[in-house]
């Protein structure tokens, strides 16, 4: 209809053109580069008044800890949050995109978003990418129909559960849940249990570590407790200080400030239209 094309961002995502070619190369004997598995422990549980989500804060790049304090609990809507395990870029992009779609949906309907809406948007996106978007999610929230907790797997299947864990530390966390979970937990009991489960993942799984993030969602209210527990502080600092051997002496000292203060002069009139 419109002759003039606006400059739009490119239609994102995968094109599957190269998959056939990759398969052909593998058949010919080429070793495919291995996937980077990222470790995580993410959990969620339903308690008396709502939903509690928890996550560790370590992001790994193979054997290296890339980020000691990353945020794995993503905002979806004022009443819905989502923990993400798997490739960090995938979880962030997917939750960002669905959060945006939910916001537009809220404008058009004039209603609070429902958890099943987020669930359906996420699972249909992940399914259409046939598992190539490596995002395993724990989605939780409270809407007009009550508290909900779901897990979403990278290929697009979902489960609805009273308590759930995902990521490389999921077995450690699930062990804690299976032994201690019961229905009708209070808020404090629930938070304590979630923290315990995440700590179990942090201490027993190499892919998870650092601190515990917790998010409590109830009807009409949410509490995002960033770094609720920090069981891994940096403790050792040498009291003696550091000395260098004789061959290393200070010859010259020059201090360059990293941040330059720039004076901004008020710009002139706005562009003529």
């Amino acid at each position: 209809m419109s002759q003039i094309s606006e400059s739009m961002p490119p239609k994102g995502g995968f094109s599957f053109d190269l998959c056939k070619r990759n398969q052909m190369l593998v058949n010919k004997g080429l070793k495919q580069p291995s996937f980077l598995k990222t470790g995580t422990t993410i959990v969620g549980l339903v308690f008396q008044d709502g939903v509690i989500l928890g996550a560790d804060t370590r992001a790994t790049e193979g054997p290296i800890v890339a980020d000691k304090n990353c945020e794995k609990i993503h905002y979806m809507a004022p009443n819905i949050y989502c923990c993400g395990a798997g490739t960090a870029a995938d979880t962030e992009a997917v939750t960002d995109m669905v959060s945006s779609q939910l916001k537009l949906h809220r404008y058009h309907t004039g209603r609070e978003s429902r958890v099943v809406t987020a669930l359906t948007l996420l699972k249909s996106h992940l399914f259409s990418y046939q598992g190539h978007v490596s995002a395993a999610l724990v989605l939780g929230g409270v809407d007009v129909t009550g508290p909900h907790l779901h897990t979403i797997y990278p290929h697009g299947s979902t489960d609805t559960l009273p308590f759930a864990t995902m990521g490389s530390g999921s077995l450690a966390a699930m062990a804690v849940f299976e032994s201690k979970y019961r229905e009708g937990l209070t808020r404090d009991e629930g938070v304590k249990l979630v923290a315990e489960a995440i700590c179990s993942g942090i201490f027993n799984d190499l892919g998870s570590g650092s601190n515990v993030d917790v998010c409590v969602i109830t009807k009409g209210k949410k509490e995002y407790l960033r770094n609720y527990l920090t069981p891994n502080p940096r403790t050792y600092v040498s009291e003696k200080g550091y000395t260098f051997s004789k061959k290393t002496e200070v010859l010259h000292t020059k201090i360059t400030p990293l941040k330059e203060l720039v004076d901004v002069i008020e710009a002139g009139d706005a562009m003529e239209e």
Binding site: M1, S2, Q3, I4, E6, P9, D96, M97, S100, K103, L104, Y107, H108, A270, E273
Partner: protein, 244 residues
């Protein structure tokens, strides 16, 4: 008149240098219900008459003032509501939908709420495209966009031609000349938001046929909290009482 031969195709200039279809669109706007906006020192108010074609219409289902983002709101002016079937109110719905999407796309790209001028520019671009494409007609609505961002409170008017202007106070629709004269007399730069609401109500009252009440006007405000909201009928009643 030579012009009439060129008045049906919107992509053809008339000999006098006008695009007659757009003139017609502006006339459609000019015969619509009065809407106005006032920019105060600490906020913006937009208001409109909400004349329903019959008492049987459920007035709670009609909302002429909508929010585009948490800090930007819009009101439109159309020909009377009977023309909903000839495609005017729906025109505004299309524009509002597109604007909301553009604001959301901007946010996803820059992680910053869209500045008011940018959103107005994008909306105006859409409206202009429909004046220079084949097989479409211009939008039959003018929009008054009120927003509050880092540059402070702002009020813009966007026309069917795609041109937009920033206003301190503006009116459009049936009673536009009286309303603008009234506003010119009463407007002051250091007006507070509450004063602006009172002035808006008085301006609407000027050309109002019948008794003004909270059921037949709509008011939207945005203050220094940067949240746009449409006033509830009871809040409008409070203001009306203060004005009496």
């Amino acid at each position: 008149m030579g012009d009439s031969q060129y008045s049906f195709s919107l992509t053809t200039f008339s000999p006098s240098g006008k695009l007659v279809q757009i003139e017609h669109a502006l006339t459609a706007v000019g015969s619509g219900q009065t809407s106005l906006g006032i920019k105060a020192a600490n906020g913006v108010v937009i208001a409109t008459e909400k004349k329903l074609p019959s008492i049987l219409v459920d007035e709670t289902s009609v909302q002429k003032i909508q929010s585009l983002t948490p800090n930007i709101g819009v009101v439109y002016s159309i020909a009377n509501l009977y023309s909903l079937c000839s495609g005017m109110g729906p025109d505004s719905r299309v524009l509002i939908r597109k604007s909301r999407k553009q604001a959301e796309q901007y946010y996803r790209l820059y992680k910053e709420p869209i500045p008011v001028t940018q959103l107005v520019r994008e909306t105006a671009t859409v409206m202009q495209e429909f004046t220079q494409s084949g097989g479409v007609r211009p939008f039959g609505v003018s929009l008054l966009v009120a927003g509050f961002d880092d540059k402070g409170p702002q009020l813009y008017q966007v026309d069917p031609s795609g041109s937009y202007f920033s206003w301190k106070a503006s009116a459009m629709g049936k009673n536009v000349s009286n309303a603008k004269t009234f506003l010119e007399k009463r407007y002051t730069d250091d007006m507070e938001l509450d004063d602006a609401v009172h002035t808006a109500i008085l301006t609407l009252k000027e050309g109002f046929e019948g008794q003004i009440s909270s059921k037949n006007i709509e008011i939207g405000v945005i203050g220094s909290d940067k949240i746009f909201k449409v006033l509830t009928p009871s809040e409008i009643d409070d203001y009306l009482q203060e004005v009496e």
